[in-house]
C-alpha cells in the first residue's frame, strides 16, 4: 500500500508540472513606494540625453556592458558576469563535504548581474485635482500628475542570476539593498558634475 501511495505521488509530481503564478506578482505592495524611493533620484538637469550619457558612463565605470538602449524612451539596459564565490559559503561547503562526501557540496560560483536604468521627466508628487463643468453641464475631473518642467528622475533596478560550481542555476532574485543604490547615485551625481565641467 505504501508503495502504491508513493507511486501515485511520483506520478502526480511528474504529471502536475503546473505552478501557479504568485498572486502578489503583479500587484502594488506595501513596499512599492519605499522601493521607488530607494531606487530613484531626481536630478536638476536640462537634457534627458545628457543624463542618459552620464548614467551610461557610470554603468561602464561599474564594469557593465550595455545590452540595449532607447534614448527616446529614456532606457539603458546593461549586464555583467562576475564571480559569486563567498568565503563563508565555501567554508560551509567544505564542512558538508567532509561530513557527507563531495556529492553534497554546492557553492555559488558565477553570477550575471543585470541593470535597467530608466529616465523620465520629473512630475510633482501631488497631482492636481480639478473638477471642471463644461457648457453642457458635463463634469470632467482632472487628476493628472503635472510635469514640473525642470529635472528628470532616474530609476535603476538590478537583478542577478547565480549559478553554482556545477553550472546549475541556484538563485534568481532582484537586488534591493539600499546601500547599493545609495552608492550608485553618489557615482551618478559625480558623473553628471564631471560631464557638466567637460572633464574627460
Amino acid at each position: 500500500m505504501k508503495k502504491l501511495i508513493s507511486c501515485i505521488a511520483i506520478t502526480g509530481l511528474l504529471a502536475g508540472c503546473v505552478q501557479p503564478i504568485p498572486p502578489e506578482a503583479l500587484q502594488f505592495q506595501g513596499d512599492t513606494l519605499a522601493n521607488r524611493q530607494i531606487q530613484a533620484r531626481k536630478y536638476e538637469i536640462k537634457s534627458e540625453k545628457e543624463l542618459l550619457g552620464a548614467s551610461s558612463s557610470v554603468l561602464q565605470d561599474m564594469g557593465f556592458n550595455l545590452d540595449e538602449s532607447n534614448t527616446t524612451l529614456g532606457l539603458i539596459v546593461a549586464s555583467k558576469s562576475r564571480d559569486a564565490t563567498d568565503g563563508g559559503q565555501i567554508a560551509g561547503a567544505i564542512l558538508l563535504g567532509v561530513l557527507f562526501g563531495a556529492a553534497a557540496v554546492n557553492y555559488d560560483s558565477k553570477q550575471t548581474i543585470r541593470a535597467s536604468l530608466v529616465t523620465k521627466p520629473a512630475s510633482t508628487n501631488n497631482p492636481i485635482d480639478v473638477t471642471v463643468n463644461t457648457k453642457n453641464g458635463k463634469q470632467i475631473k482632472f487628476d493628472q500628475p503635472v510635469p514640473e518642467g525642470k529635472g528628470y528622475v532616474v530609476r535603476v533596478t538590478f537583478q542577478r542570476l547565480v549559478w553554482n560550481q556545477r553550472g546549475v542555476l541556484t538563485k534568481i532574485e532582484g537586488i534591493n539593498d539600499a546601500d547599493i543604490y545609495q552608492e550608485f547615485y553618489e557615482k551618478l551625481s559625480k558623473s553628471i558634475f564631471l560631464q557638466a565641467q567637460n572633464v574627460e
Binding site: C7, E68, V77, E173
Partner: protein
C-alpha cells in the same frame, strides 16, 4: 510473495498512468503554437490581455508602462517606441517575463495596451494576473482601463 506481486502491479499501473498523463501533456506543435492553452481561443486571450486607455500619447503611455513594470520589480530587457513594445523580466525565486505593446486604437482617441506574460516556462492564461497588472497600470496612468470591444 503476494505482497511482491501487488507491488509489481502497482508500479506497472503507475508507469502506465504516468505515461498516459505525460502523453496527455502537449506535443511540440502545440507548444510552439500554444494552440491548446486551456482551450482558450485567441479572441478570449486578447480580451484578457488587452485594455484600452483614453489617451493618444503613445510615448507617455509607454513611459508609464515602463515605470509600472519597475514598480512591480521588473528589470526592463528592451523597449522600442516605433513598435510600441516593452519587454521586462522579474526574478524573485521565479522568472516572470512580460511583453507589453502599446498601439493606437481604431478610433484614434485611445491607446490599446496588450500584455502577455510567461511564468517560468508556462504561458500565463489566467485572467487574474492581467487584471492585477492593468489595475497597477491605471493607478500609474491616472486613467481608467477599459475593456477592448
Amino acid at each position: 510473495m503476494l505482497n511482491k506481486r501487488i507491488a509489481f502491479r502497482a508500479s506497472l499501473f503507475a508507469i502506465a498512468l504516468s505515461t498516459a498523463l505525460l502523453t496527455g501533456c502537449q506535443t511540440m506543435k502545440e507548444r510552439v503554437l500554444d494552440s491548446s492553452a486551456d482551450g482558450q481561443t485567441s479572441v478570449e486571450l486578447r480580451a484578457i490581455q488587452s485594455r484600452s486607455f483614453d489617451t493618444t500619447d503613445k510615448q507617455k503611455t509607454m513611459r508609464t508602462v515602463i515605470a509600472t513594470l519597475q514598480d512591480l520589480g521588473f528589470v526592463v530587457d528592451k523597449a522600442d517606441l516605433d513598435l510600441g513594445s516593452v519587454s521586462a523580466t522579474k526574478l524573485n525565486g521565479y522568472a516572470l517575463r512580460m511583453t507589453v505593446t502599446v498601439r493606437p486604437g481604431a478610433s484614434g482617441k485611445n491607446m490599446i495596451v496588450r500584455a502577455n506574460a510567461q511564468y517560468n516556462s508556462k504561458p500565463v492564461t489566467d485572467p487574474k494576473p492581467y487584471q492585477d497588472f492593468f489595475v497597477s497600470l491605471q493607478k500609474s496612468l491616472f486613467l481608467t482601463a477599459n475593456n477592448v470591444d
